[in-house]
Amino acid sequence: MEKNINLTLKVWRQNSPKDKGGFETYQVKDISTGSSFLELLDVLNEQLINEGKEPVAFDHDCREGICGMCSLYINGHPHGPDSEITTCQLHMRKFNDGDTIWIEPWRSAGFPVIKDLIVDRDAFDKIIAAGGYVSVNTGGVPDGNAIPIPKDNADESMDAASCIGCGACVAACKNGSAMLFVSAKASQLALLPQGKVEAARRAKNMVARMDDLGFGNCTNTGACEVECPKGISIAHIARLNREYLSAKLQD
């Protein structure tokens, strides 16, 4: 059953990208365990505004785990302690009365802090721009049923395509690598006949862009897969590596 709990929050505050930043401590009372984690932050912000202080800035939008906007490093885990969910789907029933909760932004060279808990994830868009698509224009395409696709391939492609681009994989990685993100897109498209045509070129261009943007190398620790809110498998990294190697061999 739902009950109310009291908590101590240690929240990262940083006014601007150049500001040094640090933790502030806040007390919140009577939080319903049926509330979501972001509703906890709403309550905190209402409290801060009523005290004449500036609310905590954090990214969020759909609040149903699909837009990829919310982030947060909660008690040392991207998207908090629960598995296969985003922060907006994390509920307060996962915490106990009297707990202290540490809340930080993503920490990665690829994602500079903008304000408080908000980071800049433009790098992900730039990686997609480098090749994360099938090069077709609007119109002039064949009928949707012209190319049959084995159900298993379509399903596996969909598994990869369920990436929400939140950046938890990068935040979880000790090297700050974006390989899970890159491989999920490369794999989704390479598994389908319409994307297979330019698979090698795509792999090469996306990896090159990722390296340019300052993301680290993948050393197969598997932390990204564990923390991914959508359960994206590191098997896609292996597939990307194969595409990449064959592309390089052809050079």
């Binding site: 006014n15 319903s32 049926g34 509330s35 979501s36 972001l38 509703e39 709403d42 309550v43 912000n45 209402e46 505004i49 009523n50 004449g52 202080k53 500036e54 800035a57 969020h60 939008d61 759909c62 609040r63 149903e64 699909i66 837009c67 990829g68 906007m69 296969e84 789907q89 029933r93 903008i114 908000i118 800049d120 994830r121 433009d122 992900f124 868009d125 721009a129 480098a130 994360g132 698509y133 099938v134 090069s135 077709v136 224009n137 609007t138 119109g139 395409v141 064949p142 949707g144 049923n145 190319i147 049959p148 696709i149 379509a154 969909m158 395509a161 989704q188 498209l189 319409q194 994307g195």
Partner: protein, 646 residues
């Protein structure tokens, strides 16, 4: 004087779009490079339009309030996208999709637009498949379909419960391809705050950089708004937290007609409200109604016992369950349109048969489907939705029925547009949920994705080009013209005025008050007394905002409270116009249910002789009442009948 002219091409319905395309004016490639288009919003409509314009060779600037175009709320659409492919060979056709959509919209949509929508629906599927959208497939490798409300055929294409996500990512990727090619310039965390008119035509926008707080001027030869709906006027809705009606409202304030604002859709299958800190409502896809059966206890004492926690839903015997949709609408059963399903649930709850601790919920039960098809089959179809439900509610829907209740989901009303999707302001176009055009008084499931992509990929590329063909000799503006300077100054004054209030209440606390008034009086069932109360209440909320809101921080740098306040100013005014429109429309149709106008069985009663028109509202400035202009709807190809899902 605003003129309402839908500019519907001559000729038989099925030939209109073909004729339009044959007659439209073109711009040659070297001239396209000299013409600029601003697109605001990166959802299905905005991203697909901008990508297509870029591919055609126009210069495009696209704006989003999010950190990435991929966050737009189209991404949250779960169930699917309709098309008239007739792959399952179950009797579907373009004509059938057209008539289902007009009927589903309760005969308040423009025939010509809806027919075109049905006509291009098949091209959308082909386009998305070519982009690598991983639609669900059969074992034979061909595309799979499922059914949605308001249809007796299977015409909905889907990608698990994440169809909106996959379609948006397809459009987003096409967009980023053009960004890489430099035909499109992308502005993220950047919000439209004013539309700039020069000689009566849309020639640019004023935007606010949400990171630095700077006000920017952007000029173009045409502006496309694809900024979504205004459902968040209700505070609690299935819309994303940032979804807002401000761009559409700026268009209205600049003279564009705003059509049918009171047509808001209440979605029947949402997770019920849990408490006062609730920030938004989560939708459970309509596709669940393919295999889930909706019921409440047939005996009021059982409903009471469930509310008090003395009985569980699984304790209620089969004969003591009231499958009220199957009972009332045997032909369509659990797949009646959304407005019908929502009102039926409200009727049972108001009569005391609701469940859950608040009594404001009904069951959506998969027991029979799991027995019939097995748990694995249900998991394959809805696994991610079941997981989402369990994480939020802490109940396992494989073992106990889901609890659902209606919530605000979509706004059929919006900026008025003609056949070319052009507003009453020349050069200002509006697409997707932000316009009013295709869904009448109620949108059918899986039609929003269809409309967004139809507008962006297959309509605007023709109509905007047709408009721009007259401007090949019109030079670019620098942004230093007096119209831009004046617009920028007005915006700065507006923001300063909000900051200077320095009152005692947070933006959200006032927004919640607005939402309650909207839900109570402008919600699922409306009446004249309530609507008059709503207008008064909203006026007092407006006063409260302008005298008592508190915005911490300054206009420099990121200030989220200031962003929200600026949007709330518009939500308050939108809410007022919704109430005014609902009060004037003395009939029930689709999502607009006036208690005074119902049949003896409690079904919506339309008055076609008086209200078969689009209500177009024109702002008269200040506190003056808006002016109503009517676009009479002519139905030549469908016969107006009372919708019957029995």
């Amino acid at each position: 004087m605003v003129k309402i002219d839908a500019k519907i091409p001559e000729g038989p319905l099925a030939q209109k779009w073909t004729k339009y395309k044959a007659d439209q004016k073109l711009v040659n490639p070297s001239n396209k490079r000299k013409l600029d288009i601003i697109v605001v919003g990166t959802g299905l409509a905005g991203a697909s339009a901008a990508a297509s314009f870029g591919e055609m060779g126009f210069n495009v600037k696209i704006f989003t309030i999010q950190d990435s175009p991929r966050r737009a709320h189209s991404i949250a659409a779960q169930g699917g996208i309709n098309a008239a492919k007739n792959y399952p060979n179950d009797g579907d056709s373009i004509g059938r999709l057209f008539s289902d959509t007009v009927k589903g919209g309760d005969y308040r949509a423009r025939e010509a637009n809806v027919y075109r929508l049905a006509e291009v629906s098949n091209e959308i599927i082909d386009q998305c498949v070519a982009q690598g959208v991983p639609f669900a497939r059969e074992y034979g490798g061909l595309l799979d379909n499922r059914s949605f409300g308001g249809a007796q055929v299977s015409r909905t294409f889907y990608a698990r419960g994440q169809t909106g996500q996959q379609l948006l990512l397809g459009a987003y990727q096409a967009l980023m391809r053009q960004v890489e090619k430099k035909t499109v310039k992308l502005y993220t965390r950047n919000e439209l705050v004013e539309i700039v008119l020069v000689d009566g035509k849309a020639r640019g926008i004023i935007s606010r950089n949400l990171v630095t707080g700077e006000i920017e001027r952007h000029s173009a030869h045409a502006v496309v708004l694809a900024t979504g709906g205004y459902g968040n006027a209700f505070f609690l809705s299935t819309n994303a937290m940032g979804s807002n009606g401000s761009a559409a409202w700026r268009a209205y304030k600049k003279g564009a007609a705003f059509a049918n604002p009171c047509f808001a859709q209440i979605h029947p299958t949402c997770i019920p409200v849990h408490g006062e800190f609730q920030s938004k409502l989560t939708l459970m896809s309509e596709s669940l109604r393919n295999d889930g059966r909706i019921w409440v206890p047939a005996k009021i004492e059982d409903a009471e016992a469930i509310k008090n926690g003395k009985l569980k839903p699984t304790d209620i015997a089969e004969e003591d369950r009231d499958y009220f949709l199957e009972r009332r609408y045997p032909a369509f059963g659990n797949l009646v349109p959304r407005d019908v399903a929502s009102r039926a649930a409200k009727e049972r709850c108001d009569a005391g048969f609701g469940v859950g601790s608040t009594g404001l919920a009904v069951y959506l039960d998969f027991k029979d489907s799991i027995e019939r098809l097995g748990k694995d089959a249900i998991e394959a179809r809805y696994g991610n939705l079941f997981q989402m439900y369990e994480k939020i509610v802490d109940d396992n829907p494989y073992e106990t029925p889901m609890m659902i209740y209606p919530a605000i989901h979509y706004t059929m009303g919006g900026v008025w547009v003609d056949y070319e999707l052009q507003t009453t302001i020349p050069g200002l176009f509006c697409a997707g949920e932000a316009n009013f055009s295709d869904h009448g008084a109620n949108r059918l499931g899986a039609s929003a994705l269809m409309q967004g992509l139809a507008d962006g990929y297959f309509v605007l590329p023709y109509t905007v080009q047709n408009y721009l063909s007259d401007f090949i000799n019109t030079p670019r503006m620098s942004g230093n013209e007096k119209e831009f300077v004046e617009a920028e100054n007005e915006v700065k004054e507006r923001f300063q005025k909000i900051l200077d209030i320095k009152g005692n209440r947070s933006v959200d606390s006032i927004h919640k008050e607005l939402g309650l008034a909207m839900w109570d009086f402008v919600g699922m069932a409306r009446n004249a007394d309530g609507l008059k109360k709503a207008v008064d209440k909203i006026k007092s909320i407006k006063k409260e905002f302008w005298s008592n809101v508190r915005i911490p921080g300054s206009k420099e740098g990121m200030n989220i409270e200031l962003e929200k306040a600026n949007r709330l100013v518009d939500f308050i005014e939108i809410g007022e116009l919704m109430a005014i429109d609902a009060l004037h429309r003395e009939e029930s149709c689709g999502g607009h249910f006036r208690e005074e106008h119902q049949t003896e069985e409690g079904e919506a009663m339309r008055h076609d002789e008086k209200f078969a028109y689009v209500a177009c509202w024109i702002d008269k400035g200040g506190d003056k009442d808006p002016e109503l202009i009517k676009e009479e709807l002519e139905f030549k190809d469908v016969k107006l009948i009372q919708r019957n899902y029995k």
